[in-house]
Amino acid sequence: MFRKGDHEAVDALLPWFVNGSLGSREERRVMDHLRECADCRAERDRLQDLQQFVLEEAEADVADYRFGFSQLMQRIDVHEANVESMRDVHRDRGWQRGGWFAAAACLVGALAFVITLNPATDEIEPGFRTLTTVPVTGRSTAAAASTAYRLSLAFDTPDAVRAALIETRASIIAGPDDAGTYLVEIHAPASMTPDALIEGLRAVEGIRYAAFQESGEHAGDARP
């Protein structure tokens, strides 16, 4: 006669016994128990019916993949073009000079952090050690020595810089408003003064306007 604990343990394994994914040792354990337990045999049968139902339902037509794939490749093309464009911007503006370099590098680096991820999802990628965790790692490093600022930004060339915002998943809090300004959140190194950040942002090609967001003020209320 089987033990109660064994019955519960085998019951928990039944779904994976039914789908054939148990290892040999567990499979044997389940089969030994099934010989003695009519309840578990009945449950196994029900789970087999469920599996059969799920598989039959899956036989319904699946959409052709090609449309979705073409959409994805367009997205990849835009992404790779923007990455190249941002690289060119950095090169052309002589980023090695002065505090503007620090500010612009801060912008690119900060925009690269995946701020729009909610805290729970920041933990998802570490579960897959195979995935690069640069955004999460970078964020956690930056969070320890950075200051979050909310700013209103407006762009001369929406395609180039806005595309960079989208691509790097900067935190767009609101916007664009009628004036075309976005309210964004940027993390800057703690050592950087607010004035240096603003000066650096205003020097970045494509940014027409940058100002700190006052509390209660909406994007676009501030004047250039």
Partner: protein, 203 residues
């Protein structure tokens, strides 16, 4: 166009080529994974209009991160894990997570639904039942019965302990418990099963 000559390549071989930005290999891999991902995300999201977007979000990550895959799991496990995370994020954004408690009314009604079942079909009720459980529970059911993953693989995909997988399955089974006997009864009535069908020899 997916290259027919690449059909025999394993998922891992294709992914290695994707890591070198081989677009033909990427399309072959995309075509291969698309049915499974579509199906899984359709059930997880319950929003058909979002499925293609989330499939593409998933495969975009595959394109970008292919070089980081270390081969500790199957490629499909890795990709499904990405899809699960993207799907859950999408649900969070929509704030459409169903309550963790099942819709008790809907499930209790099943006891008096002979006529409803005959009108709508038991299959619709099974689908409705699957819709009533939480996304995490639904994910476990789909990954088990449709994709055939082991509980360890599901734990990897959903980034949770094995016991959590088993618990989610336990709760899903309990909430579907009223439906499953009716499924068997229907099969018996339609002649697909003999009432005396001895299932001891079935796996």
């Amino acid at each position: 166009m997916a290259d027919p000559r690449q059909q025999d390549l394993s998922d891992l071989d294709l992914l290695k080529r994707v890591a070198t930005k081989d677009r033909v290999a990427f399309e072959t891999l995309y075509a291969r994974l698309f049915p499974q991902l579509s199906r899984y995300l359709t059930r997880l999201l319950r929003r058909p209009e979002l499925v293609e977007e989330i499939v593409n979000d998933t495969m975009f990550v595959v394109w970008e991160k292919a070089s980081t895959f270390e081969g500790r799991s199957k490629v499909s496990t890795w990709v499904t894990g990405i899809a699960y995370l993207k799907g859950i994020k999408a649900l969070d954004r929509m704030k459409t997570m169903p309550d963790q408690q099942p819709d008790a009314t809907a499930l209790e009604d099943l006891e008096e639904t002979d006529s409803i079942i005959s009108r709508l079909g038991l299959e619709d009720w099974i689908v409705a039942g699957l819709d009533l459980i939480s996304p995490d529970q639904r994910s476990v059911v789909e990954l088990t019965y449709f994709s055939g993953y082991s509980y360890q693989e599901i734990a990897d995909i959903m980034d949770c302990p094995v016991n959590t997988v088993k618990t989610r399955m336990f709760h899903a089974r309990r909430r579907l418990a009223k439906l499953l006997p009716l499924l068997r009864e229907q099969k018996t009535q339609t002649g697909l099963l003999s009432p005396d069908d001895e299932t001891a020899d079935r796996h």
